[in-house]
Symmetry: D2
Subunit: 348 residues, 4 copies
């Protein structure tokens, strides 16, 4: 089958033939209809430092996808041929303390699809039923593929009550943009979208941000204070990983407020613990991945009700063989979610 393969321990990847995977008793084989590119894929492609220590080429890249079940193992209980499935990237063991206490998203033996296993940038993909999510059959394959970033946003939006709150979202890439859409749908009364790329701020605007702040030109925290009667934002969502966002966001957070941290800084961040957290009696929540499967159920509700317009977040589409163009676009930052079709665009 055609696949994007990380062939060697170096930057780049190749489009080449790969063996169609076989399935075990509890697995399904899926014909991949759409895939989407995540920042993690970019880091693997670019051969970032953490990637070198973890992955073992050669392997098929990719973890976001949607596809139709072609074949189901004998012990598969719920899925049937033709079902439209997506996959949870975080492949959990199901047996550790975290899995057995409802926290499979931080499984002690976690493996990542397309990092520790063969991924989905291929015509076919095999996965265990436990890590498969069955979609509403009417969902578009592009949206079904992009549910993971939406799910990240749903998880972030669920750790504190955002209704009738003033919220600041730092980082307006696809996940931040989805989050802004959720804030709008869940009743936030003033939404600040902050980024350094104007393209992304436009996306934030389309998703419902009330105020756009380009951190290159604005004194962000002062501006948020000014537009919240000097009180500050009730909630600060850090979706960028940029060190400066922590400073601006925590300064703009009102005492008693909540900071939700999702972005991954590449190194340690200097935090003014006394003034930003202790004196403010602040809540700070790390948010990782998606809750398995609470977040997926909530995401499905959001999609069913048409609450987040994913057509604005999904901005570009490519046949999979054009992957190098797709990756270059991602790198430019001038895009939302980018879709690739392993089996061609017409056949979906």
């Amino acid at each position: 089958m055609h696949s994007i393969v990380k062939l060697k321990p170096e930057p780049g990847a190749v489009y080449q033939e790969w063996q169609i995977p076989s399935i075990g008793l509890n697995d399904v084989l899926v014909r991949v209809e759409a895939t989407s590119i995540c920042g993690t894929d970019m880091q693997i492609y670019d051969w970032h430092e953490w990637v070198r220590d973890r992955v073992k080429p050669p392997f098929v890249m990719g973890h976001e996808f949607a596809g139709r079940v072609l074949e189901a193992g004998k012990e598969v209980a719920e899925l049937r041929e033709g079902d439209l499935v997506s996959g949870e990237t975080h492949i959990f063991c199901g047996r550790c303390f975290q899995c057995r206490t409802g926290n499979a998203h931080i499984c002690e033996n976690m493996r990542l699809r397309g990092v520790d296993t063969d991924g989905c940038f291929a015509q076919y993909h095999a996965l265990h039923e436990a890590s498969a999510w069955k979609n509403d059959s009417k969902l578009s394959v592009e949206v079904a593929s992009a549910q993971e970033p939406l799910g990240n946003a749903v998880h972030a939006a669920s750790v504190t009550d955002i209704s009738a709150k003033r919220v600041a979202v730092f980082g307006c890439g696809p996940i931040g943009a989805c989050l802004i859409g959720l804030c709008k749908s869940f009743g936030s009364t003033r939404i600040f979208g902050v980024d350094v790329v104007d393209y992304r701020l436009s996306l934030a605007k389309e998703m419902g941000a009330d105020v756009l702040l380009n951190a290159l030109n604005e004194d962000v925290s002062s501006e948020i204070m000014r537009q919240t009667d000097g009180r500050g934002a009730d909630i600060f969502f850090e979706m960028s990983g940029a060190p400066s966002a922590f400073e601006q966001g925590f300064k703009a957070l009102r005492p008693g407020g909540t900071a939700v941290l999702f972005g991954l800084p590449s190194k340690r961040v200097e935090i003014d613990v006394a003034n930003w957290i202790v004196f403010k009696d602040a809540h700070v929540r790390g948010v990782f991945g998606r809750r398995i499967y609470s977040t997926w159920y909530k995401t499905a509700e959001v999609l069913r009700a048409g609450m987040v317009d994913m057509s604005k977040v999904i901005t570009h589409r490519f046949d999979m063989e054009e992957f190098s163009k797709a990756f270059a676009l991602m790198k430019s930052g001038r895009c939302g979610k980018v879709i690739m079709y392993p089996n061609g665009r017409k056949k979906k």
Copy 2:
């Protein structure tokens, strides 16, 4: 001044002159621009059983209002002449265990405006600064007056996360209707409005209910089960006090769901504790009044953002001298919120 006075321990009330109240050091005197009628006022008017044991005629009726400050006592710190204020009906002591732990809404020494003190169905009203709420000066006096029922709804909508949830609201009078508006604004994905009066179901529809169920004609719990894939409503709001609503609502509640109880049944209700609460591992929350003043701040945000269209909830207007017509209309159930103007409609 002109006032509606409960003159004698019997049904009814009279429109008559009453002494303009004097103010203490911490009080403000307000010119009342609009008042609204609550179910409690109806019960006082009709001389219900609980009323007989509690009130001591003669006294001025009424507790929902908005007005302009005419005069402020010497120790008043924040309010100024001309400020548009409403009043919290629940006059708390500020010194008991509940008040000192952030729960003034269940003060151990609570007195009620227009029940235990003179009320606001009058041209002027005096109140302690601590029980006054300063409104945005641009808010309409009608909406400012009707903030208490909206506040009840805001409190009910805040005790559990309603975003991306399927909710059933039993009782679509003004408070239930406001609640439906909030559910819509805060992202509930399927809203069932249940009542026995079609007028109110129309109101529910206008406020955003997705499904209307008249309990006289429908098997409500079965219908809710049917329209939620057999799972049931995530949240059951009981806003009616009707015994049958408890049965229908709890039956329609999904295991692990939350029941929010606001309506006041006139007598004990037979509850199937085992099947409705224990086996479901359900959360049940009694909701009383409004949190003082968290709910008011949240209500102000909701109004500022235009999230609940109060013009649909406020359905009728009267000069205060026409009070008997207003009360008769309230009794018919064919209305939303009813406004009375003690100082005439033109002068607001």
Copy 3:
């Protein structure tokens, strides 16, 4: 093997031979070292109304046990021969909405061990690995068997913060007694134990209750009010299912407090919703079973730290063939937890 079998659709049971169960790929076969009798077993024995509609004799009774693994199916991942295991009575499907969102204890396809399947009152028992709990190898088999009622108490004690709180426990059988022990260990400052059987009140006393109230002789709610400075109990645990307990408990609950409902009334209970729940802005929590497996982990911590002295709760021991004596004792109410040994007492 020797077993206690519900042979016919009528009261009683017989001690007789039964086929040793075979095991599937994911099952383990256990030699049962100790079992304990639950109220549910008594109802099956007595042929209660709900039992008639549900069970299908003949089947082996019993669900609380501890035993050693004799043999493990090929796909069993964690358990090994010799492991000391107990079993979660609530056999969950692992695939429904509740199971996939961390709420397996209210699984939509729940089956009960010893009710819907063959149980553990036998020399051997087979169970799926997913419903097995591996104990610390040093735990006594009696305590390991009685972890389910302790787990019920742990679940009840975990739904609200009981530290530095005044709590009232209605129903001081084994589960209530364990709960009292937990309240003591988790820092409740005044513990009221309420029952109608003096034997149980003695047990409550031994487990740490500060005040004992026999509801036959005392005006329970008045007494609780009197001993809490007129404020009432912060938390009311209903562990008895007795209708009068609801009245006494809710009356004694302070405004803003929490009622935890675990007991199963045999019919509907008349609840004064207005005065007991709404005006009090009360939290009410139904509590079912144990959270799978959060409660079990917490229970293990409690046992490891020696926080609840189970030797006081486990009051009687029998060889399994003496089961009719054991059941008669249970019926008298003059006991705590009753242990039966299917393989004899010496061989444990």
Copy 4:
């Protein structure tokens, strides 16, 4: 009256005469029976950087105290001559957003006793009734004075459920020691006490720590991991402000755990946001002061029940005129809480 006065903008203080304060309508005048020294007092004494920017000498120092009411202003409602009162250091306005929403401890107009106003290191002290706490008349004056640090610990212990949890307390001065006592009383199953001063570790031991770790000699995070089966501490309490404590504590925190931050680092701390917070899906809570007055009520319960042995925390006593010895002792770190008597030790 005799007082300890910060006379000039420089290190040190003087013991001298000062005017007995007059009282307003809502104030009480108190004869100070015992005072205690806090780290903040030390920083004022030593003339730390933040102090220079804030305080305006001359003023009476001190904020922790207990005393008897000598005289009450005319509008004082609850306090009477002879009442034993302590004072909340955080003097809140009662009118801002935070005060009106139950968060007076983070009042927008906060003033600090003994920092922004005259303090209590004097024979007499005047305070507004709203910032006074009436003690149980049988409480010792030393313990009544030391309720604020105990209250800090109570607040910290209340932001997450610590029952049956493994907790690590970094910093075992008086507040950390009180916290360890609370963890013990509230059912934590393994308590790690961490400090760099052996004297404090002894104190931690006496208060109930199960494991003592001197961070100068031990690889603290590794040791905690080792003693928690490789899982880590469920809760990490940072009570020291030391930068290294953040690193050790966050590393030892298990995924899904909670970090409670109370200590005040003197400068920014380098935080590995990705590994310590995001990947762990961790909760982080800033904790400031005490909740007013929920924490005080809870503290009173704790003291009434004898749950924390304050006699172990209070290690030294001085007449107030020996204040320089007391401050020198505090500086050495070889003490718990230090009491000073402004009116002599015998007269309490």
